[in-house]
Symmetry: none
Subunit: 127 residues, 4 copies
Amino acid sequence: MIFVVDPHSGVPLFQQLMEQVKLAIAAGRLQPGDALPSVRSLAVPLGVNPMTISKAYNLLQREGILDHRPGKPLVVAAIAEDQLGARRLSQLEKALRPAAALASQLAIEPDEAVALYRRLLSATKES
Amino acid sequence: MIFVVDPHSGVPLFQQLMEQVKLAIAAGRLQPGDALPSVRSLAVPLGVNPMTISKAYNLLQREGILDHRPGKPLVVAAIAEDQLGARRLSQLEKALRPAAALASQLAIEPDEAVALYRRLLSATKES
Amino acid sequence: MIFVVDPHSGVPLFQQLMEQVKLAIAAGRLQPGDALPSVRSLAVPLGVNPMTISKAYNLLQREGILDHRPGKPLVVAAIAEDQLGARRLSQLEKALRPAAALASQLAIEPDEAVALYRRLLSATKES
Amino acid sequence: MIFVVDPHSGVPLFQQLMEQVKLAIAAGRLQPGDALPSVRSLAVPLGVNPMTISKAYNLLQREGILDHRPGKPLVVAAIAEDQLGARRLSQLEKALRPAAALASQLAIEPDEAVALYRRLLSATKES
DNA sequence: GTGGTCTAGACCACA
DNA sequence: GTGGTCTAGACCACA
């Protein structure tokens, strides 16, 4: 389970982490009950302050996506899959909707827009 | 020429404004030489601080997209169309790229993703 | 609008603050739209690090109880009253339920328990 | 003699255990001289680390509530009844005091609060 | 002025 | 070992 963050992206580090955890769950790479890497074990290789990781984990807990038992590592909550995994398409939809609105505002033909998207998809490799 | 901003969107107001001006130009709704609404006339209906509008206009000027002649209203620069209008597709590409990456990370088939996008496009009306 | 925290209570400071804000809203001392004291203006008199206040405010925002517009002070969200104000009795119920279970487990007669509660209520002054 | 713990309640497991033992004594379900279940026999069904149970028992010993004779099981101390059984009302008072303060802060009338408590008491069955 | 992020480092409770 | 809290202090974006 490897996460990556980019300190220059402008997106806060803790948010990048949250998104990656959510993505891993949605994609099934993290299953309910799976333990997450410990705060410290993540902080070192990422070159990030442990508190930043802690913040991300903490918020995911409050969202009910992670589950914590004192003294134990955080695990993916049972509900998380319902919340995230089952709705993969609706997540993609949320990302695509603005791109649909944009095409329309730019008066780009649907066929042209779709062709562009298809091209981008084939250029993307599963990372 | 009406702009809309959403103070809850998380995107800074001045950035939302900049994007909307660029969009209007790219879509041809604003042509080179066209005057932009004055800071005040925009600030009131939007419920936004005039300084925020001013900031957006200033940055657009620095980017060479707007043109200012003392005592006259801001106008769309001649180059603007080249910069923005001609690259409509590349703007859409910028919006679609993350959606391509997401589909891949969620292990959604390209065909399924493309179908979803096509559906969203036909559901979108020019606003 | 005065908040008080007790660093020795064992309850985390940020949690004490969150509860007090919620209480103030539930009691109507803070109305939707009302601005909260700024992070800094609260940190000094309470002798608490600004980040601790910030954390409390931040979480209340995520819970939808506070509302933020960049550059402006935090205000009580419109929904907050629905969430908190309208349910005053149910909040009290949540606090009383364990005390009801306890009386039962200690085999204390309801009349005796009620009498005790009544006595405590009259001893308590609106602070 | 059955204890129950909830790892999600936020209250540390060892504390939940301590409270339950105290309660059982206060309610007379455990009498002076009665033996407590062994650490192991408790750890397994509760799904709790034996060290956690041990910690709870140890602290109860320090408080003079349990009594230990090498090689023998832990028993309820003679004083325990005095300490706990006799003060049933004061235990309930400790639980009710915050509920009294809360009613006051929420500006709920004493009569209303008392009525609510009475209702909860009659709804509660000895478990 | 407003709140938000991050680090470095200390300290704590729990298991 | 696990995560959680807090401080002190720097720095940033926004209005």
